[in-house]
């Protein structure tokens, strides 16, 4: 099992959700996040005072998939979330030891 953590533009969430749905990757957790990588923030002016906003609103999407699904899911996310500009986000993959369904304590891939 692999965990996919994808940080994407807030405006791309719908497209990414649809793309994942189409390849049959189901179940995800979405968090509203703030952060920045190489993309610098923007400046705001309030009554002549300048404020630099360097933590930009982002969407962090988490899902755990069976290993054979992972590459297709990554491809789907990249294709849906890409604009080619700085700030498109990143995808992180990591191994997951165990998954447990709370309802019936199923374990492993069948719990996903």
């Amino acid at each position: 099992m692999t965990k996919i953590e994808a940080v994407i533009q807030t405006s791309k969430l719908e497209a990414v959700k649809t793309a994942l749905h189409e390849i049959g990757a189901e179940g995800m957790t979405v968090l509203e996040a703030r952060g920045h990588g190489r993309q610098k923030g923007h400046t705001e002016f309030y009554r002549g005072r300048e404020y630099t906003v360097d933590l930009i609103p982002k969407i962090k999407l988490e899902m755990v998939l069976a290993d054979d699904m992972v590459e297709r899911a990554v491809e789907a996310i990249v294709n849906a979330a890409r604009t080619g500009q700085i700030g498109d986000g990143k995808i992180f993959l990591s191994k997951i030891d165990e998954a447990i369904r709370i309802r019936n304590q199923e374990r492993g891939v069948s719990a996903l």
Binding site: E44, F45, Y46, R47, G48, R49, Y51
Partner: protein, 478 residues
């Protein structure tokens, strides 16, 4: 056929009515005896009475509406305007300050404030003749307005006494103890507001232009009484209390320009009661003040917004609404004395100057006037009072008359250069009274109970530390 029947019916009805009216008249006249015949004098007296009552009703209805409009400026207008500008941990505390003043000043006004402001007294302050509102009934006080009940006048003026201290709260937002705020404002109303209101508008007041004061200052709706006093006091508060923890290192952007936006719009609407109501009658003068108010606000919104556009590349919403408020402040003393075109000029000037004041000058001096109460009300009020001495015109309001009753010039452009001196006297007295009074009160309250919240409480936010609640409980589970 059907139509014909209807026509016939209508004709018959008319005939019947006319006959009835005619017979009623002839019966009345035939039954009159000489004793009940109304003499011409009596009739005229009765009609004069009816005319007076009609005028009084008209004026009174407008003044009651105006009173409500001015209250609307404080809550929700100013409360929203200021509430949106603070960080979200202080939104309730900021709104609460305005609301608490609606209650506190009202009670003070009934007990003593109205008497000190509008009772007869000396040049500086009213006497105790109206203490506990004694003698303030439905009879008009002709010195102020012959057509509205004195109670209407009293409650209208009360609304001004409420918003003036509420304006100051913008300067010490996010760091003053609620208890200290309450104590400070009680003293401030009595020591600063009441004497200033008496000097400018009260009987025998030193600066009263309508009732023959020594230095007749033209202040139609409170440029000196409301905005100079509150703005200057705000500056003194900001300097005395010091900066907020983390200012200016930490960013403290407004938590909701949306709230401020709604507040500013309500202020604009309420201001019609403030300025046009200051005619104290539903008169053409009220119309003139209404129009000047609106034009001043519009021009200043454009002035501030454009200045920002030129300097920052973008016209901000907050800047444009702040400009409108600055314009409303500046037109306050002038409304009722100036033409619509002069109002545009005043608005444009004050919009640009207040922007420069808030965006450039404040950061140079480094004082923390959190919500720019001084930059908008102190500066805007001062400019407005001075410009009133430039643009005021007898064609709008012939308030100065010579011995033969002919209207004399008002402002510089109306051929009365000397008026500028009177305007300066009014402004300087406002500045001194506000600065000295505020400093003394701050010192007293500071010694008595302390002014600022603890640093821990300030970081936690005033909503929790002063009131035990939060403005936004979005994350409580359902």
């Amino acid at each position: 056929m059907f139509a014909d029947t209807r026509g016939l019916k209508a004709l018959l009805t008319w005939l019947f009515l006319w006959t009835a009216v005619y017979s009623a008249f002839s019966q009345t006249s035939s039954r009159l005896t000489p004793a009940t015949v109304e003499s011409q004098t009596e009739r005229i007296a009765r009609l004069e009475q009816a005319v007076t009552e009609a005028k009084s009703s008209a004026d009174n209805s407008w003044m009651l509406v105006s009173s409500a409009l001015v209250l609307l400026m404080t809550g929700p207008g100013l409360a929203l305007f200021y509430g949106g500008l603070v960080r979200k941990k202080n939104v309730l505390a900021t709104m609460m300050q305005s609301f608490a003043l609606m209650a506190i000043v009202t009670i003070l006004w009934a007990l003593i404030g109205y008497s000190l402001s509008f009772g007869s007294g000396n040049s500086f302050i009213g006497a105790f003749d109206h203490i506990f509102l004694r003698g303030v009934g439905v009879q008009p006080d002709a010195a102020y307005s012959a057509t509205i009940p004195q109670q209407t006048f009293m409650v209208y003026q009360l609304m001004f006494a409420i918003i003036t201290p509420a304006l100051i709260t913008g300067a010490f937002a996010e760091r003053m103890k609620f208890s200290a705020m309450v104590l400070f404002m009680i003293f401030w109303s009595i020591v600063v507001y009441d004497p200033m209101a008496h000097m400018v508008w009260g009987k025998e007041g030193l600066l009263n232009a309508a009732l023959g004061g020594r230095f007749p200052t033209l202040d139609f709706a409170g440029g000196t009484v409301v905005h100079v006093t509150s703005g200057v006091s705000a500056l003194v508060c900001a300097l005395y209390l010091g900066k907020r923890v983390g200012y200016p290192r930490e960013p403290m952007p407004p938590h909701s320009v949306v709230l401020s936006f709604i507040g500013a719009c309500l202020l604009w609407v309420g201001w019609f009661g403030f300025n046009a109501g200051s005619a104290l009658a539903a008169s053409p003068l009220a119309t003139s003040a209404f129009v000047a108010t609106h034009f001043g606000a519009a021009a200043a919104a454009l002035g501030w917004g454009s200045a920002e556009w030129i300097r920052n590349g973008k016209p901000s919403t907050l800047g444009t609404i702040s400009g409108a408020v600055a314009g409303l402040v500046a037109i306050t003393p002038a409304a009722g004395f100036v033409s619509p075109m002069s109002a545009l000029a005043i608005g444009l000037i004050v919009g640009v100057v207040c922007y420069l004041m808030v965006a450039q000058v404040k950061s140079r001096f480094g004082y923390d006037d959190s919500l720019d109460a001084f930059g908008v009300h102190g500066v805007g009020g001062t400019i407005g009072a001075i410009l009133t001495g430039v643009f005021a015109s007898r064609a709008i309001n012939p308030i100065f008359k010579d011995a033969r009753g002919n209207a004399m010039g008002l402002g510089i452009l109306d051929g009365n250069a000397g008026q500028l001196l009177n305007q300066f006297v009014g402004v300087v007295i406002g500045w001194i009274l506000a600065a000295v009074g505020t400093l003394i009160i701050l010192k007293v309250v500071d010694l008595a109970i302390g002014l600022r919240v603890t640093e821990g409480h300030e970081i936690q936010g005033l909503d929790l530390s002063q009131h035990g609640e939060e403005g936004y409980n979005f994350e409580v589970s359902a």
